[in-house]
Symmetry: D2
């Protein structure tokens, strides 16, 4: 993460934004029962109530305790329970055991959030407008952190619900009263056509400049050299993927990276996560329950291995993150509300923001990268190995969270995020 | 299980007993939040809400569906979710994944119980008194089954709460408003003295006779030959165990079975489960939260390996189940309410019923054993390998559930039940 | 183990027997290359060269070092490498890593054996005839120990060769020059008929008396009560097993113990170990390479789970070890050479000694059992949990090793020993 | 891999080089017993005899079978046993089970090598000089492949010997008769000083040009942009590492990548592989047996995680592979014989070639990378994920094998190769 180096928004706006971001977390959790909010289905997934508590712990730990005189921790044991991975802060409850905790229950966690919100409102109120204090930058960081967890909350609860044989739906807050999601007949939408955007190569600027908020891993802005290339004007769709499946894509070792093929051989992957081939044809599990695969939707919940294999099969390749940013950076962040599911591509290309797109780039530090000092320096830098960069944002990313330089990252085997892909090729 | 072969209690009584047993399950679950009732901490442990549902499924499956004309299942998917291990009934949700299910929530499960209870009340009402129909025997079996799950519910939720760093207590229904369990000073109670009961050997009758209810594994009554022996008049206490610990009991391979020593070497066992050695001395976790180890209490939550090692160290041995029954059978079942924790030994010996006592006997069929016909024949017989028999009942066993011939069984490594031991020696 | 309590054979005979037993080990190893003798295919299997060294270590540790003045250990590090499981002797190399050791090679181990043999010859020579010293009893124990390892050597190398895609044969010492074992046409032998031997029940004597050599686990002789029963006059054959397979034996959960069915479900067992169903029909791997399944041979390499399931399917049960000994004890030990494979049943019933036969009895101490004092007390007693008793000996048991009271034991999942079964039923 | 695109050496030279490279493999294996050549200590390690066979299989599969009319395979089953990972060739024996095979023994494998060598000599002899046929390029590839396995053979047998409690040495072919490697007193050599080589940044050419042999992953040559930086003139030494250890380097989470710290916490890494801290101080295991840690030697057998942590601790960073090649490329490949151990740094800087040096670069395709067509296209490309690039060669790399553009790669956790590191910093 990086403290903002120039003037952030004035205190009044920050207080409003704080309230708004915090409220959205509660809105997203509101359709979920206490039982729903407690379950953890794999080590990567956190319970909803843990997300609600951890984001509060972040403000408590990095702002209220060091910077708000007289603040009294809601519960001194929460530091152990809700520290995610900050070694400099101290020991913590094992990640894989978050679902073993029935206490604190969601009532206590709601109270914890109110406790932190009240203190934070006072703290933000007290911050001077000029010069902008470091605490204002940390508030900004905390809000972006909470937005990341809003997306994590949705992708995690999707996994939780998917592992239930009842295949229950999450009642999306915008949807009104819950209805049983009954897979309807296969949709008649067709696979949208694909166009190519070209780049002539040469030197390109990459990363975030010094102004405004950005995470530390997006900086510093620097120069990279590109060969001429083309990049698709839309992500790979479910329609494309059905062709890949029909052509035996998961049975062709020549298309796969060795580690990916090992995953195929072990039986772990045979189609995108959440896809199943039943008597009604291919269906996928969504936050609204099962539904038929729609050829016009971007394919979602594929691993890097699958993305790379598809590109290989298609006679193309994945773009690097530099290529991606150079052509598509300007189109990042247009969505103005959370959408819960990628949905079919509509409107005009280029289509960006429905699914996180795997790039060919390993997640590594930019030249002259320096993590932020102190414990928040653990935010990004220590994960710079064994991961690949994804670009563009997804349907579940909160509005206002993204930038052209935004770098998401996951291990190559990850499938439970909203992960898709886009093709590139050499010119 | 075994269908009662003689006249069970008249229908009126059975109906009342049905209501009473079912009510106790709900009472035991009542202090637990929705979150508490959802968590599973290891494959052996089931969530509270699962116990509530599974016991209802048992009545639905073995009584209502075959024997109650017009009965309509509460939810046809529950058969998959709440079948525990009956292969003849069909496939089922994996045991280790019970804690991954947030739905159905406890409200649905309460409704399920009411649905089953109403139908069962009508079914029991409709049963003829004479001749006693097979269904009445199945009701009896279902009630004993539910009582077993009442004990399981308590030992399972104890494990769940113990894995929480907050070390929360279960608010025992009889205890009134919850108080924070603060470990008090070490109790001054002393280790009660130990006496020996002798048996001259010769032929002994073992097992349940033909009259009255008993599980199938207690039958048929048969003859066994005994050598002269003595058996202790009380279980091994925490005071005894502190001596064992102080004498390096967990560091002496010569006392241990090979498989037990492997468990010690792997770091899995270093003291009874729930014991911890802190700055206030040895404490143990109870359903009321942490408390100091009391030398006057029976030691509890030890594996067969630990029980055998202790006996070896003490220059004694564990009794066989035949020896146990021959001397202590008449004292089984005296407790008239659930006690949640063994508590210190008080009153006069022989002391029986505070902890399940490991015997030297592997869990095997009695001569001429025959499982009940049909799916309920899976109740006991298919587990007759890799387990040892325990005798006597424990603090958490519901009143009215036990008999002198009662055989409990667990794998030798099990520690989360209320398991203790008693010494025997040759004469 | 038990020291012989009466006069063993005179020193001259013991010296000859020592030489003879030690020579047989070398004969059994002689067809095996250095590479063959080094490989370990699972934790239960030990490399041939380890068996050769460990049996020598036994004499070195329990006889030469304590009882032969001036003896100098061949290599002081061998104590760590070749101690199998004697905690009282000291730490040792992990069992599962025996196959990671290329050194010492077989030349060093041959030298080790010669070194021990020479010293042992002198020690035995020096022993007084009267009174018989304890050392003479330990020599006897060491010889029976080495005979056990001769059988283990054969069952272990069979496993090693079986895991090789080349399916190579062991050149059985009696067979002359090696020939490629080509599965021939299915043999025309038919499944021999089965008769029943009956026992009227009542009190029976069990176990070894005070005279002569026996392992400690066979003692003391004691009384047990039996119900009337019948026991088959031959083991279950491959012909029987083919019927079980044809009738879906491995697909009928109602026949299986729960732990056994879990093994079936996990895909671990689908037929006896070493059986495969190819285009020529069922074949099995033997020490002479693959050959067709012969209906007249006893079935071999089945687990306790499979044995119990077969008995269930056949409407019978497994005998207890007391039943087995009471009827078949007198027929134990007739074979006069190692046979490498069970082979078809020929001659007159009762047929005993082709395969170790699983009994329904868990491996537990006899009443008043006491292990031998000192480190050799670890020989048997510490394994008395999680195992079942097998009776009767097998084709690979060296001549002169068995007694009517002989108790072999393995965990219920073991299949690599020469394990079969025999039916019993109630009368 | 890449077929040479320009004229390789004339056939006569290639035949001589073939003989020479093949001979070196046998020389390296010659001190090893049949037992030594059979053992596999972890999935990553292959037995010596497997390396000897697999390199022969490579020539048989990619040259003799397609291009040498009338060639008859030595054994048709070897294709299954000795295919390493070529999916296009067919199925194969699992990598982790190579150590389970005692057959074929080393005598058969020596015969296999002779069989292949004779046919290859005739094939090479028959190749036209002009135009250079594709087969000549494949011979070249096969020789470089065999050279890679010569290094693997040494690093694998080092692991095998290290896991033996006897800590035996490999008798390095150049060393004369074997002596017991007795750790001597701590050497008095001091840690050599460190200098920095600088680069002004700007555009740099990276990778192999079109002429001469190179693996496909080194191509195509392309342009990259560099910031100004400095790179050390020597690798990090054991003396440096002793300081890191003394300063608690393995106890400071702030220095470590998250995945690396997880490895530390799990107890897997506490010092470089093969280091142990005994009563004589730090020692390390070498191919000549244990010896004291020498501060003047490059540190070796560290993972990427340890390399990155050290650089962090030292206030520096690892170089990228582009930086490494730009400054140190010209110094690659100077060694003229295999050295078996890095040894102390002597002579003048820059010191290159003692240990493979982890770079900050993930192993990814160069822009416009294209794998070779056909099965040999699996040589490199399918491993381009989850690995990091190492540069420079090591003591065990055969002479003549390296180029400035040479890219080695291993997963970040690998420690059994001869892996070290070098520092870089921004200017």
């Amino acid at each position: 993460m990086a403290v903002a180096t120039s003037a952030p928004a004035p205190a009044l706006d920050q207080g409003q934004r704080f309230a708004s971001v915090r409220r959205l977390t509660e809105t997203l959790a509101s359709p979920l029962s206490p039982e729903d909010q407690t379950v953890q289905t794999m080590a990567d997934v956190s319970p909803t109530k843990w997300h609600r508590a951890h984001t509060s712990w972040f403000f408590e730990t990095f702002l209220l305790e060091p910077s708000f005189p007289g603040y009294r921790a809601f519960d001194p044991e929460y530091g152990y329970l809700f520290n995610s991975y900050y070694e400099a802060i101290g020991s913590r409850h094992p990640r894989a055991e978050r679902g073993l905790l029935s206490r604190p229950g969601i009532a206590e966690i709601a109270a914890y959030r109110r406790h932190v919100d009240e203190a934070m409102a006072a703290l933000i109120e007290s911050l001077p407008l000029d010069p902008v204090p470091p605490a204002a930058g940390l508030v900004e960081l905390g809000l972006h952190h909470e937005q990341q967890h809003q997306e994590l909350l949705l992708m995690d609860i999707k996994h939780v619900l998917s592992r239930n044989p009842l295949q229950p739906g999450y009642q999306c807050p915008a949807d009104g009263p819950r209805r049983d999601a009954q897979p309807s007949a296969r949709p008649s939408r067709s696979n949208p056509s694909l166009g190519w955007l070209t780049h002539a190569g040469g030197l390109a600027d990459v990363g975030a400049g010094a102004e405004g908020f950005a995470f530390d891993n997006e900086r510093p802005r620097h120069v990279a050299h590109l060969e001429p290339f083309a990049i698709a004007d839309r992500p790979v769709t479910c329609g494309d993927w059905l062709e890949f499946l029909a052509d035996g894509g998961y049975e062709r070792p020549e298309c796969w990276l060795s580690d990916g093929w090992a995953a195929v051989r072990s039986g772990l992957i045979q189609a995108p996560l959440y896809w199943s081939d039943g008597h009604r044809g291919w269906e996928l599990f969504t936050l609204r329950g099962p539904q038929p695969v729609d050829p016009a939707e971007p394919v979602c919940h594929v691993s890097y291995y699958e993305a790379d294999a598809y590109a290989h099969w298609a006679g193309a390749r994945l773009p690097t993150e530099v290529e991606w940013e150079a052509v598509l950076g300007p189109f990042v962040g247009g969505r103005d509300e959370i959408a819960y599911h990628p949905g079919p591509l509509t409107g005009d290309p280029p289509f960006v923001g429905a699914v996180w797109e795997w790039t060919a780039s390993a997640y590594l530090p930019y030249p002259r990268f320096a993590p932020a000092p102190g414990a928040v320096g653990e935010y990004n830098g220590k994960f710079m190995v064994n991961q690949h960069v994804l670009r563009g944002g997804c349907c579940a990313t909160p509005p206002g969270h993204l930038r052209p330089s935004y770098r998401n990252f996951f291990p190559p085997a990850a499938r439970w995020p909203f992960t898709g892909l886009r093709l590139a090729r050499n010119l």
